[in-house]
């Protein structure tokens, strides 16, 4: 069986994430939270079959949940375990699947869909997609500036103050390089017709897109599945009255 997420576009995983978030906010007690997580676990194979999940990234989410639970116990008045647990479960309900779903939103496809299906203005969408192509280069630029500073004797020592100062200095230099790059990118893009998209009036060329942005049955199924899971904590108190 091929999981839904291998056949969906980029919009339905996003939408599913938001649907689960809405559902998560309705978690009122531990039973609801656990039932919701159980529903998620049941639904997961349909969405994920044949895909790999980064457990490392999930770990970051688990740590975040621990900190939510901890702070909701520490700062509640009076301090009680159960509401804090509920707070953790509520957040777990949408954070964990959200982290998994993020891996299935392809940036380029998201651009296609934002432009064609959601009909967002093409220029900001294209600027965003083009800027994302610079991510790895900017990351490398950061690394090479850090190396250059090390050889110049400007590297940080172990003190947190010097580390923060070093990071601030690099951040500024990175932004300068990013702005330079943005100027040169604009030159290249405008010369390739980006400027024409801004021209007002009826003769303006309507932009076309190489790849279509279809909404398929798999997309609908994924959102319906997410909605069904999200309804579990909502409906549970109606089926099993709290306190029973």
């Amino acid at each position: 069986m091929t999981g839904l997420l291998r056949r969906t576009g980029p919009l339905s995983p996003l939408l599913a994430g938001f649907v689960l978030m809405a559902g998560g906010l309705t978690v009122r007690d531990v039973a609801g939270g656990l039932a919701g997580l159980a529903a998620l676990a049941l639904a997961a194979p349909f969405a994920l079959a044949g895909s790999r999940v980064s457990w490392l990234r999930l770990l970051a989410g688990v740590l975040a949940l621990a900190s939510v639970t901890w702070s909701n116990w520490l700062l509640a008045s009076p301090r009680e375990l159960e509401p804090a647990l509920v707070a953790g479960l509520r957040v777990a309900f949408f954070v964990v699947p959200g982290i998994v779903l993020a891996a299935f939103v392809d940036p380029s496809e998201l651009g296609d869909h934002l432009g064609q299906r959601l009909r967002l203005p093409a220029r900001p969408v294209l600027a965003g997609v083009a800027a994302l192509q610079q991510l790895d280069d900017l990351g490398q630029e950061w690394a090479s500036m850090a190396r250059a500073r090390r050889v110049r004797g400007l590297g940080p020592d172990r003190s947190p103050v010097s580390q923060v100062r070093f990071a601030a200095d690099l951040t500024f230099s990175l932004l300068v390089q990013a702005l330079r790059r943005a100027e040169r990118m604009t030159v290249a893009m405008e010369a390739r017709g980006y400027a024409d998209l801004a021209r007002p009036g009826p003769d303006r060329a309507r932009r076309t897109w190489l790849h279509p942005a279809p909404w398929t049955g798999a997309d609908t199924t994924l959102v319906v599945l997410a909605a069904a899971v999200a309804l579990v904590p909502v409906l549970l108190p109606l089926v099993v009255p709290p306190g029973s």
Partner: protein, 502 residues
């Protein structure tokens, strides 16, 4: 301009004064390029060649602040193609097909026609991969040919190239040039090429336009405009003065630098750093977005190399042979994954030999380094601060370092800029500043990575002069380069091929 045809672009009285500048970069330029004309545009660095190309492409006022004069006209509906120096700036998508499609998409072409254009354009530049190839997995030369394909896909009537090969090694540069020539051959595309190095384009282009720059006989205007061979014959010496690489002219003489400005604080003697059987495997790099990961790369394998005090070692070899990686090892930026790289006691002066593990200050006191992307070394808010940053980090006496900084600035033509922001310098000035900044605090070892790529004759002479003077003053100097003229000044040459000594 051929009779009966309209100009592809026409500038009349074109001028440009950047906001905040006192004199114009371009002034009163009259230029007309007709269909099928092949123009070489030359001029000293800072003479406004890129500015002129941007103006001809109609994108100047959208990205730079300044006062324009005159006008640029192009036929209604005609498309312009503009190819930039760094292909990374032209990348707009993650895959080759999407990237080439960008222009046709913006023009609103129907999908089948976009696909035809992609196939045609990739074929026109002899691109070795299909449309699904990741744009991040291309070499510099391949990326530049992809950028050219993206420009051609819009079917431009006017093609403007802004130093398209200056970041590439000779072999890649030739392929890009061949792709350009093949693409325009037999068409009436008007071509304007900006280059420092004229030789490869002679015989291919038929007209030479020379910009004067601010200091010339006609500040901001045209110094010469005529048939290429004739202008070269008549104005050769004048062109040399502007820093242009005129075909057939001997390489420039490295500038003379007094030893006291570059001498090490504690001059080493004998060998400075020794690599024996050094290997470097670069760990796989994960792309931040997307689920791909590069394979681990064997950059170097079993390399023996010695940098001597008072010697200039040139590391040569084709692109990807591991030249930069070897310099990285020798100056302590990376530790070898096999074999060893060690500083001799002459350099280490009491530290353990594995220089890759020295602290930032320990390393800085002994080593200077300038990467190919020299702007990475620029720090501080004035050129003076940048020159003195290393000395200050090492708590060296300000007066002594200051005197060296000012002396170097004078020789390198940077005195006027000492109190300016270093981020405002031109590419050539940045290169000179970076090399000077690596020497002010008196290290015993200097590593330079492709220091002359894309530079005009003036900056070439400055860099070669600094490297030579450093060696003469007793430093160990290692330079990775595919520039034969620079390597000719080296005492030792080591040639790498696929990570091994050839």
């Amino acid at each position: 301009m051929k009779t009966g045809m309209r100009a592809r672009v026409q500038a009349r009285g074109l001028g440009w004064t950047p906001l905040g500048a006192t004199s114009p970069v371009l002034c009163g330029i009259d230029l007309e390029v007709g269909p099928g004309e092949r123009v070489l545009l030359a001029g000293p660095s800072g003479s406004g060649k890129s500015t002129l190309l941007r103006a001809l492409a109609g994108v100047l006022e959208g990205v730079e602040a300044g006062d324009p004069t005159g006008r640029v006209t192009r036929p209604e509906g005609e498309r312009v193609g503009l190819l930039l120096q760094d292909p990374r700036d032209a990348r707009v998508a993650d895959r080759v097909g999407r990237d080439v499609a960008y222009g046709p998409e913006n023009a609103g072409l129907p999908r089948p026609e976009i696909r035809e254009r992609i196939a045609w354009a990739l074929d026109a530049v002899a691109f070795p991969y299909g449309p699904e190839r990741l744009t991040s997995a291309l070499s510099g030369g391949e990326a530049q040919r992809l950028a050219l394909a993206g420009v051609l896909a819009a079917r431009p009537g006017l093609l403007l190239l802004d130093e398209p090969t200056s970041m590439l090694d000779d072999a890649s540069a030739r392929r890009v040039r061949d792709a350009v020539l093949a693409a325009v051959a037999g068409t009436d595309i008007a071509l304007v090429v900006v280059e420092h190095r004229l030789a490869p384009w002679v015989g291919v282009l038929d007209r030479l336009v020379v910009l004067g720059g601010r200091g010339s006989a006609s500040p901001g205007g045209l110094l010469a405009d005529g048939p290429l061979e004739a202008v070269l014959a008549e104005r050769g010496p004048e062109l040399l003065d502007t820093g242009v690489w005129v075909p057939g002219a001997p390489p420039p003489t490295p500038i003379a630098v007094p030893a006291r400005l570059v001498a090490p604080r504690t001059p080493p003697a004998g060998d400075v750093v020794v690599a024996s059987g050094a290997g470097l495997v670069r760990a796989p790099r994960r792309r931040l977005l997307g689920r791909t990961r590069t394979a681990p790369v064997v950059a170097l394998e079993g390399v023996d190399a010695v940098v001597r005090a008072g010697g200039l070692l040139a590391v040569r070899g084709p692109s990807g042979a591991g030249k930069s990686s070897l310099v990285d090892l020798l100056v302590g930026l990376d530790a070898p994954t096999s074999g060893s790289v060690g500083a001799t006691p002459a350099l280490a002066a009491g530290l353990r030999p594995d220089l890759a593990r020295w602290s930032s200050r320990e390393l800085a006191a002994r080593v200077g380094w300038v990467p190919q992307a020299a702007e990475a070394t620029i720090v501080g808010s004035t050129v003076r601060d940048c020159l003195l940053a290393g000395a200050r980090a090492l708590r060296r006496p300000e007066a002594e370092a200051g005197a060296r900084a000012e002396g170097l600035a004078e020789i390198l033509g940077l005195t006027h800029a000492l109190d300016r922001n270093p981020h405002r310098l031109s590419g050539g000035e940045t290169r000179r500043l970076a090399v000077a900044s690596a020497l002010v605090h008196g290290p015993g070892l200097l590593g330079l990575d492709e220091p002359t790529v894309g530079q005009d004759r003036h900056t070439w002479a400055a860099v070669a002069g600094l490297a030579g003077a450093a060696a003469d003053a007793g430093l160990g100097v290692v330079v990775s380069t595919h520039d034969g003229d620079l390597a000719a000044h080296a005492h030792d040459v080591l040639t790498l091929r696929e990570g091994r000594v050839a």
